[in-house]
């Protein structure tokens, strides 16, 4: 007679795949954009990114030990937070800035809510707006691409805000990232390569990025110029942090809606806020704030966009 059998609830089989696998794939998909950042802005970009990642991982580990929680460092989520924070910083910041930002991201953005899966806001963006509010001077001084001698320049969006004309920048320059900006946001080509990996693996869906980008473009096209329907929508898509935000930050599972319907509302909301801030707001760039505001709205969106149950209209 056998009586030392394993008993557990059904189902008794499980799909391959795990949370760490998803997280590390996201890390992998961010490598092209990081590499582009280093090529464009030099090794400073690499140091900033490494410092942010190491600090994020270290903070996560310390917090785990302190709260006697399970060791979660290897799941890759802290690495993503570090990378995304660094990608939202200029390459010429002093190295204590990513340290401060990463600690804030992990502690206030993530762990005080209960750690992985519990954060209301995207942790990297929480860190970024903290730095933006605390040390704005460092956050808006950008290195000119391929200058390597720390000549500072304004971002195209900032120049636009100040009414300067940007004749020397072609759409191709913007697409390849030959402009001032944050480390990970400038090279659209590299970002799209990473996004393609995530879309192909099915880890993100089109709903949020497509509606986000589309809404921003439409809104900017209508209201972005002195005359209605004359806005330079392509310029707005290729500038600032829109692509980075749409594919890598607005798609953060934890702080975004669950259903396709909810995700479309989320994407449209992000697009509207981004365009409004860019056109009429005090900042040249609005992606971070737009995503954070929609993160806050996510529980409500979830509540009113439940999936359709079989046999109901």
């Amino acid at each position: 007679m056998r009586n030392n059998l394993i008993v557990s609830g059904s189902p008794h089989v499980h799909k391959q795949g795990s949370v760490p696998r998803i997280m590390w794939t996201v890390v992998f998909s961010l490598i092209p954009a990081g590499a582009a950042g280093v090529i464009i802005f030099g090794l400073d970009a690499l140091w900033v990114t490494l410092v942010a990642v190491i600090t994020a991982v270290f903070t996560e580990a310390v917090f785990g030990i302190w709260t006697k929680k399970k060791f979660t460092v290897l799941d890759g989520s802290a690495v993503i937070t570090g990378i995304l924070l660094a990608f939202n910083l200029p390459s010429n910041v002093p190295l204590w800035l990513p340290i401060a930002g990463s600690i804030f991201s992990i502690v206030i953005g993530k762990q005080v809510f209960g750690g992985l899966g519990q954060n209301i806001f995207n942790p990297a963006l929480v860190g970024r707006v903290f730095l933006m509010a605390s040390w704005p001077k460092y956050m808006v001084t950008f290195v000119k691409p391929f200058s390597f001698d720390a000549v500072t320049s304004a971002t195209p969006l900032a120049a636009l805000k100040e009414g300067k004309i940007l004749e020397h920048l072609s759409y191709l320059d913007l697409f390849l990232g030959k402009r001032g900006g944050c480390i990970g946001e400038v090279c659209i080509l590299a970002l799209l390569i990473g996004a393609a990996i995530l879309l192909f693996k099915g880890y993100i869906s089109w709903h949020i990025p497509a509606t986000y980008i589309f809404t921003t473009a439409i809104f900017v096209y209508i209201f972005g110029a002195k005359q209605l329907f004359h806005g330079d929508w392509l310029f707005h898509i290729l500038s600032g942090g829109l692509i980075l935000g749409a594919f890598f930050m607005a798609t953060d599972y934890v702080a975004t809606p669950l259903t396709a319907k909810g995700q479309i509302i989320f994407g449209v909301g992000c697009g509207l806020f981004t365009a409004i801030i860019r056109i009429w707001g005090g900042y040249p760039e609005g992606a971070s704030y737009a995503i954070l505001m929609m993160n806050a709205a996510t529980p409500f969106i979830d509540r009113y966009t439940k999936s359709r149950i079989y046999g109901t209209k």
Partner: protein, 422 residues
């Protein structure tokens, strides 16, 4: 719907074999949904094969019949594959009179039968839904209003299981005969048989039957769910809170249909069923015709030497089957499979926090939000559970299967369903 690793190759080409009757049969007094039967025999009684041994007066129930001839040696608690333990009648066989002796009835006799007659035969034979739900079949043969469609469920979407597939190949004529009879009595217009595209032999067999329309279904899980098969064959849904009756549809599993054939055409009560015995641990997986009440140990022994000792024994398939704590547990009316898993396959994976990836939301065939019910259930928020309509869950297990955080979604949803009905 999701695509699963089918693992049907172990047994799909194994012809049906008869398992010799057990020396002792353990027949639980409840093998169906509904009221538990009362024993009609006492210890020491001599019982003949096929004799009714337990019954009750109720609306939803099915009587129990002796699956071997012999003597009642005990009526006591015994391991039960679904309920853990339940009262069972234990018979000890006397081998001489144990050949099945049911002969075909004459055509005239059959042709005279009305729907009410068939319903009575089905009730007296103790037939229940043999796809796993074990809902008494006579209740389903009593539609409150006229039906227009009869669907034979031959999807067999659970991985590993092949008993229905073998039945469709080896008993095609019998199934077709009784289906036509029932359809005539019910007065339905259309008869469909839904078969997944991974069973080409069965599809070929039924495409020769002119009265039955073969609907080839994608081999996605849970294609064989009653409401899923209706949607995928007829393109319409059963409204929430309603039954297939309400849209004029009756669905019957092929194994149930075959049991009806044996009852109607041979006067044979439900005393045996097909069981797929399969898994990595076995050298010789088989599709066995097994007397009800046979301990699963007999099935395992019959399938020859083991490659390795099973660490987990499941009655049913890997998605909805139930893990057993002992091999003394008997095969009952709803047991369509016996799956042996080795240590590696039976390993439990650690649960990690939900990251709200929504894989479960996309996978749920009913359109629920399993992750939300899971969180509400863990926090004992039963009102919230109701808001998320946990009671609609069909317990297919997809949410659990796809979850990258290995969360025990189904278990907590099952609990939510129980609490929700309180």
């Amino acid at each position: 719907m999701v695509k699963l690793a089918e693992n049907k190759h172990y047994s799909e080409n194994k012809a049906i074999e008869k398992l010799p009757p057990p020396s002792k049969a353990y027949l639980p007094l409840i093998q169906h949904l509904g009221k538990i039967c009362n024993p009609e025999v006492k210890v020491g009684d001599m019982i003949k094969l096929g004799q009714r041994i337990a019954n009750i007066q109720a609306n939803v129930y099915a009587p129990i019949h002796a699956s071997i001839s012999g003597v009642v040696i005990a009526i006591q608690d015994w391991p039960h594959p679904v309920l853990g333990r339940a009262k069972a009648i234990i018979l000890e066989g006397n081998s001489q009179s144990d050949e099945l002796t049911f002969s075909l009835k004459s055509r005239q006799e059959i042709d005279k039968l009305s729907l009410a007659d068939i319903r009575k035969i089905v009730l007296d034979a103790g037939i229940v839904g043999m796809g796993g739900a074990s809902f008494p079949t006579h209740v389903k043969l009593n539609p409150p209003k006229p039906l227009d469609t009869l669907i034979i469920n031959g999807a067999e979407c659970e991985p590993y299981l092949t008993a229905d597939a073998r039945l469709m190949v080896e008993r095609t004529a019998e199934i077709a005969e009784v289906v036509t009879l029932i359809a005539g009595c019910l007065g339905v217009k259309d008869i469909y048989i839904g078969i997944e595209d991974n069973k080409p032999e069965a599809i070929k067999a039924f495409s020769r039957i002119s009265k039955i329309k073969v609907k080839v279904l994608k081999s996605d899980y849970p294609q064989g769910g009653e409401k899923q098969i209706i949607q995928n064959i007829l393109g319409k849904q059963v409204p929430r809170g309603k039954l297939p009756f309400d849209i004029g549809v009756l669905v019957q599993n092929v194994a149930t249909i075959y049991a009806i054939y044996e009852a109607v055409f041979k006067g044979k009560p439900l005393i045996e069923r097909l069981v797929t015995v399969t898994g990595n641990c076995l050298v010789n997986p088989k599709n066995l015709l097994v007397r009800l009440g046979t301990p699963i140990n007999n099935l395992i022994d019959f399938c020859g030497p083991l490659k390795e000792e099973p660490a987990k024994i499941i009655i049913g398939g890997p998605m909805m089957g139930i893990a057993q704590y002992t091999d003394e547990v008997p095969i009952i009316k709803s047991s369509g499979g016996l799956l042996l898993m080795n240590e590696k396959e039976a390993e439990t994976i650690e649960e990690t926090p939900c990251i709200r990836c929504a894989a479960c939301v996309r996978g749920c065939p009913v359109g629920l939000m399993p992750c939300q019910i899971n969180l509400a259930s863990e926090k004992l928020l039963w009102d919230l559970v109701k808001e998320y309509k946990a009671s609609d869950c069909i317990e297919c297990g997809i949410c659990n299967y796809v979850c990258p955080a290995n969360r025990r979604l189904l278990q907590t949803i099952k609990r939510a369903k129980l609490e929700g009905t309180k």
